[in-house]
């Protein structure tokens, strides 16, 4: 059962990374224009005006 002492922190840590990624995506407004972002990767011109 000692393995639990390693596995539980590891799983919490990995979950935490996911949560932080989500919080970061929220803070940087990644969900403002989902449709536009999906389409923008198809354009050829370099996006030199990324959102602030």
């Amino acid at each position: 059962m000692e393995i639990l002492g390693i596995l539980i922190p590891v799983s919490l840590f990995l979950g935490g990374i996911g949560l932080l990624a989500f919080v970061w995506a929220m803070k940087t407004r990644q969900f403002d224009d989902p449709e536009g972002d999906a389409n923008r990767i198809l354009t050829k011109d370099y996006d030199d005006h990324p959102k602030p």
Binding site: M1, L4, I8, S11, L12, G15, G16, G18, L19, F22, V23, M26, F31, D32, D33, P34, E35, G36, N39, R40, L42, T43, K44, D45, H49, K51
Partner: protein
């Protein structure tokens, strides 16, 4: 302000969050801020209804960047808008032209009315709490599985302690919307849905912490976070629905940028309507809407007053004539001396009428509020009586009694109830939005389902406000040829309709010379040496008929009348037929003259019609029907309908309606087609049925689970199962909506 639907103080389904008074006040604050910012660097927002693809993005952005003075342009494809940062000399007209140059229709939006920021912030806040709750629900659930499958002794305590360290911060952070709203309703002396929720969260967390500390068997951490997650999901869905509706309604309002052309020191200056002062001279070009109330000092024209009175026949306007804000100038340029502007104009006085009608509208209690009204006291009663009973039964075992009472609160807690309404409303309004109907008010769907009488306005609602000639074939060939030659030279709506129909019939214009338009009267010219005129009856020396008509006089005999009927809105016939089939009485009430109304009522087969109704009479009719116990659906667009729209049980207005009418109505018809109204009623009835079914489903789960909890047999596993199963069932049931 665009969205002023009745504020829903309900505690369930997110009422406590998105219905805060600050949200309603926010747009005006944002507007002031935007106006202040406008002086430094212009931020222009255009609506791009046709944008749909990757190429559109780069084409439009490049076109905007090519306009001198533009610093940056960014297309938002989800909202179909482009926002442009530019130096202050760049005007929206330049950008609209640039967009048109690359083949995209664009409309200026008033950035002050697009207060997306406040709603955005709230939405992000909720989403963040939802994300945290999801994370900890998953982790705690995994740890709980170990406990359920029989972890013993130290291992179980370890798992409980880890669960506690995850769950407690989550409940404190993610549960805040419920705690705040519960506190608000307690201070107002009410027991909303959020009071039992908060109580359950707090009780479950604290009893679990105590049990963990005392090495007990049962901890409800998983139930507490799951409860938080599912209820927040309901809140978030509800918020999304409202946010979508609000932003679409704001976009409609922002499309009308209120400006007036004022003559100052002999110069024409374009200013905001709020800056126009009484006594100033305002220029109104043909085709423009009167921005203010005033008296005509220069110019003659014909004036379309249909949005104010419902009259489809334009009236003459010359020097000394009085015009009201909202009327449309048809033929000649006019100069007005302002008698009332902004808040004092008749447009705004009509808005006061709406306020009166709205205060008279009995506050609708939604299904959710009704459910909460008997549900909350019952839950508290059950929990406390369980506590009391077990205290007595066990001879004062406080720990056991509190455990039971927490279990009862958790089991009965309205996970499914919190999802039951938002899931259905989100699903239904999403479906209707794709059909072209915008649901502005949260309870509008429920109210629409109860309707049994439908009252239609005529001009602009059932008809397009676009005339078409009805008796072209009755006139001899040469007369029509002359009429076509004259009509082709004018931009008056009747003349344009006449010319279009005559050309479509393959008629060639006669040779008419010296054609000139006399604004306010008609068009005249020389035909075979005779003076010919097409225009008003009086100008032609004839008697006016009681239907919309223009008159042709060629010098010999009586003037010939070309009569017109308003073109029906597409789907109007189908909508009326659909509503009839669903067992509703259909009535027509119009401010127009009797002939035109009789004609239209005959075409649609409506027997019950009223012509020449004043705005107050329309509202009175709606109030009378309501008094007889009917639930009235009012469909109208004009300013003369606003009071009736506000007085009706539920109301619909087309997107072409005046802002005041759209504000007063609960549902906005975004497209041209009216046939969706029949669909809307069907969907609303279906969704009310789904909501009731969902209440039934969650009640069923409670009936099974509550006795278990009361006798002390509810384990955390049973609570988790009941909660997730009922939540999933109600969500799936909501998605069954067709």
């Amino acid at each position: 302000m665009s969205v002023a639907g009745p504020v829903d103080p309900g505690e369930m389904g997110g009422g406590g969050i998105s219905a805060c008074p600050a949200c309603v006040a926010a747009p005006s604050a944002a507007r002031i801020a935007a106006e202040a910012a406008a002086h430094r660097d212009a931020r222009l927002i255009l609506s791009l209804p046709q944008a749909h693809c990757a190429v559109c993005i780069s084409t439009v952005e490049h076109a905007m960047m090519a306009v001198p003075g533009v610093k940056s342009a960014r297309v938002n494809l989800t909202l179909k808008r482009v926002s442009v940062e530019a130096e202050s000399q760049v005007t929206a007209a330049d950008l609209v032209q640039a967009a048109a140059g690359v083949g995209y229709e664009a409309h200026e939006l008033d950035p002050g009315l697009l207060s997306a920021t406040e709603t955005d912030r709230q939405g992000r806040d909720l989403l963040m709490r939802l994300g945290v709750a999801f994370f900890s629900m998953m982790n705690v659930m995994l740890l709980s599985v170990a406990v359920w499958s029989g972890a013993e002794g130290v291992t179980r305590d370890l798992f409980h302690w880890i669960s506690a360290s995850i769950a407690l911060p989550t409940v404190v952070f993610s549960g805040q919307p419920f705690f705040k709203s519960a506190w608000r309703s307690l201070r107002a002396g009410r027991l909303g849905m959020d009071v039992p929720i908060s109580l359950a969260l707090i009780l479950a967390s604290s009893i679990s912490l105590f049990e963990t500390w005392a090495s007990g068997h049962h901890a409800y951490f998983d139930a507490a976070v799951m409860l938080t997650f599912f209820l927040l999901l309901g809140r978030y869905l509800d918020h999304r629905t409202r946010a979508v509706a609000r932003s679409a309604a704001e976009e409609l309002a922002a499309l009308e940028v209120p400006r007036a052309v004022v003559l100052r020191d002999g110069q024409e200056v374009t200013v905001s309507i709020s800056d126009v002062i009484v006594g100033e001279l305002v220029r109104v070009r043909p085709g423009g809407r009167m921005p203010v109330d005033g008296v005509i000092v220069d110019g003659t024209s014909e004036i379309d007053r249909s949005v104010l009175t419902g009259e489809s026949l334009p009236v003459y306007g010359g020097p000394g004539g009085v015009v009201s804000a909202g009327e449309v100038n048809l033929t000649g340029p006019l100069t007005l001396r302002v008698t009332a502007a902004g808040k004092d104009s008749s447009l705004h006085r009509m808005a006061d009428l709406v306020a009166v009608a709205e205060s008279a509208r009995t506050k609708y209690t939604s299904l959710a509020e009704r459910a909460a009204a008997w549900y909350s006291p019952l839950v508290h009663l059950l929990s406390f009586s369980a506590f009391g009973f077990w205290m007595w039964k066990t001879g004062g075992d406080l720990r056991y009694a509190v455990n039971i009472s927490a279990a009862v609160l958790i089991i009965t807690c309205p996970c499914a109830l919190g999802l039951a309404v938002p899931a259905v409303v989100t699903s239904a309004s999403g479906r209707l939005f794709r059909k072209g109907l915008l649901i502005k008010d949260g309870t509008a769907l429920e109210r629409l389902a109860e309707v049994d009488v439908v009252v239609f306005d005529k001009t602009g609602t059932l008809t397009m406000g676009a005339p078409q000639p009805t008796n072209l074939a009755d006139h001899p060939g040469p007369a029509v040829e002359v009429a076509l030659a004259l009509a082709g030279a004018s931009s008056h709506p009747l003349a344009m309709a006449l010319a279009e129909a005559a050309r479509a019939a393959g008629i060639k214009p006669a040779r008419v010379e010296d054609i000139r338009e006399v604004p306010g009267y008609g068009i005249e010219g020389q035909w075979k040496g005779q003076r010919v005129r097409l225009g008003r009856a009086g100008w032609c020396g004839g008697q006016a008929l009681d239907v919309t008509a223009t008159y042709l006089c060629t010098g010999d005999g009586k003037p010939r009348a070309f009569t017109f009927a308003d073109r029906l809105r597409p789907g109007a016939e189908q909508a009326v037929a659909d509503l009839r089939r669903q067992g509703m009485a259909v009535r027509l009430i119009s401010g127009d003259v009797e002939g035109a109304v009789r004609d239209l009522a005959g075409r649609l087969g409506i027997d019950d019609w009223v012509a020449g109704a004043l705005p107050a009479e329309k509202a009175a009719l709606v109030a009378e029907l309501t008094g007889q116990g009917h639930r009235v659906l009012m469909v109208g667009d004009g300013l003369n309908d606003t009071a009736a729209l506000a007085a009706a049980h539920v109301s619909i207005s087309p997107a072409s309606a005046l802002d005041a009418a759209r504000v007063a109505s609960d549902i906005v018809l975004l497209g041209q087609d009216m046939a969706v109204i029949g669909d809307a009623v069907r969907i609303s009835r279906q969704s009310t049925r789904r909501i009731r079914e969902n209440f039934g489903i969650s009640a069923l789960y409670n009936v099974v689970a509550v006795p278990l909890a009361l006798v002390g047999m509810a384990t955390p596993l049973a609570a988790a199962l009941a909660m997730s199963l009922s939540s999933i069932t109600v969500s799936l049931n909501a998605l069954r909506l067709k």
